[in-house]
Symmetry: C2
């Protein structure tokens, strides 16, 4: 039995070694920068391949599941499985292991909320990674705030970035950016895998962004009666109400904000881009800056956007729009799926027809993922609160 197993392993090894040598894997793997303390694996090489390793002596089949592809690992004589993915895009990716049909986190990686679960994440170092690196500059503080929502009848929380000096300079007040995550993500994303705090620390240190507060809340908010009515379908969202009636007054009460529209910006990614576009158009008395990263409110973008009817005709008066919106910022990664191009470009076509100015940022070689959104935040926050 043991001989059979060894022989089988040997044959398997030969097949895999052959397959691998065909791929010419560059053997310069380093432990991922987001590994758990002291963990050697997962590793990443200069091609952006992810190599994982896990002991599972009795397993029949272990796979690395990343970027929508499952890569078979190979078992050695000690019962340790090892293998790697094809090259991945630069930036942050969610992934998991599949052990005999069980989809589980990799015990070597740190965990992140995204794709609707807490699970493994990995970072393929980007050429421009310096803009979100932890550097020897003054650092802001991220605070976790709990609040009871009378609207959703639940405890909710947000994370608040306060810029360097906030705790010491008690006379200074700051503008605020409300910054939202995407679907199947939550309020933890922007200050974890999004590195919003480090991006702003670096931009504030270099003088390229104004010191600002950033509020990151959870975009899923439903009244109990709407949840009941929906009966399993997607309920009507009350996030706009929670943000406008509960979060903003609380933030203005607790933090030293400048509580007016000229000092309040809003932005979001994907679902958050769509949500925040609706919110600002319904509340132009509250915000003067909009950023939509990888999304707009016309998602899924299968129809031409009619300025006369879209968002109650908010964009039908170009002059008013330009007067009220100090910045209208849109972005996409060049490798995003077609639906996002259709959506955002459909919206841009409408803006062009209306002769409404906007700024468009294209993130090179990134998909619908966090490097697109880190870069978008980096671009967008440099435009905020400059005329005040």
């Amino acid at each position: 039995m043991r001989h059979q197993l060894l022989l089988f392993t040997f044959i398997l090894s030969s097949v895999f070694s052959f397959a691998q040598s065909e791929e010419k894997i560059v053997e310069d793997f380093e432990p991922s920068v987001v590994n758990q303390p002291g963990k050697e694996f997962p590793k990443v090489n200069s091609e952006g391949r992810v190599r994982v390793k896990i002991e599972a002596s009795e397993a029949n089949n272990v796979q690395l599941d990343i970027g929508g592809v499952k890569y078979d690992l190979e078992k050695n004589e000690e019962g340790i499985w090892i293998g790697e993915s094809a090259p991945q895009d630069e930036g942050f990716h969610y992934y998991q292991l599949n052990i005999d049909g069980a989809s589980v986190p990799d015990p070597g990686s740190k965990y992140y909320y995204g794709a609707g679960r807490w699970g493994s994440g990995i970072e393929i170092p980007a050429k421009d990674k310096e803009f979100y690196a932890l550097k020897d500059v003054p650092h802001g503080t991220v605070s976790k705030n709990l609040y009871f929502s009378e609207i959703t009848r639940q405890w909710r929380r947000n994370f608040v970035y306060t810029p360097p000096g906030y705790f010491e300079n008690l006379d200074k007040r700051y503008p605020v950016l409300y910054l939202q995550h995407g679907s199947y993500e939550d309020e933890t994303g922007w200050s974890s895998q999004g590195h919003a705090n480090l991006i702003l620390d670096n931009l504030i240190a270099s003088g390229d962004a104004e010191p600002m507060i950033i509020v990151m809340d959870n975009g899923y908010a439903y009244r109990p009666e709407d949840l009941e009515k929906a009966g399993g379908n997607r309920p009507r969202s009350s996030f706009e109400d929670v943000l406008i009636k509960e979060v903003i007054p609380q933030i203005d009460g607790k933090f030293r904000t400048i509580p007016n529209r000229e000092h309040r910006a809003i932005a979001g990614l994907s679902m958050g881009a769509s949500q925040t576009m609706s919110i600002i158009m319904n509340n132009l008395d509250q915000f003067a800056y909009y950023g939509g990263f990888s999304g707009t409110a016309n998602f899924p973008g299968d129809k031409e956007v009619d300025a006369g009817t879209f968002l109650n005709g908010a964009f039908s008066n170009a002059e008013e729009m330009e007067q009220k919106l100090q910045v209208l910022f849109l972005s996409l990664g060049t490798k995003e799926a077609e639906i996002f191009f259709k959506t955002v470009n459909g919206f841009r076509d409408m803006l062009d027809r209306q002769d409404i100015d906007y700024i468009f940022y294209s993130s090179p070689e990134t998909g619908h993922e966090w490097l697109t959104w880190r870069r978008s935040l980096y671009q967008y926050t440099q435009l905020l609160f400059k005329n005040n």
Copy 2:
């Protein structure tokens, strides 16, 4: 083949059902309070049993690994494994799943740092759980602070609890508790599974504790040269230097503290109890209150503690000790391992011989785990800063 498998499954089921019915499992399982959003499993019943469920259609053997015991799960016809543990102690426990030899986090649970890894945790609701429950009281804020340590030549971080009103009442200053985790844990523990923030929110709301700041840092701190010298062995710790020379000055500079010994307390659990006892005895000019939860500096406690030599004779002068230490608090869970009893009781014997007053708290029916430490914090913080 399929028939054989079904037959085999049927036999297995029968065996397991029999085993289970012998155990008389109470079928009142509810989803764990620390599950990931929307996850039904793991579940906990009124006996404190943990039931887990995972799809692993090709697996040979899946186990629940909790409390040092591995429980075999049972596979149903859909390839889903399910099973439960024996009753667990009330409180918080780390656990993992074992899938064909791979030890991995349960994809249903939230993740915590402890036992030297980010992994699954579960909560067995305690009879006294109200003291650490999220309630409709004013809530403090937990902030994440990054700092570069010149001593360890690394970026480090701490979590800081500021009490309700800290952000609004800008004239008020607060006393500070420095609160440390145990071995194989980190700076995240006390404000996550430890619920230090909720415990203080509740105690401050009821008037049983003074509003205070709590600083939770990482107890692992080594100079690069000491790491090199150690060559794989445990290096000399520089945590005392980091705390005294870097953390305290930064906290006093950034937060509105009352920066003197009468308004500074220190406490820790297990390894943290040992570390903080040494630190306060070396720095009685800095702190006036000590709390040692499930540990003292004479760990592993196999010798009688000699007041003349222990910690450079710090306890040899009872009068000076009583004058300088406003509170000397010790605690243990009644179900802790013998080594902790030996250690703490050995230290208490010395205090008794020296006629030094102290407060001892015994946590009923808990081991060397977080419910012991939550209760200890609850007891200890009610004693702090009352004479000021």
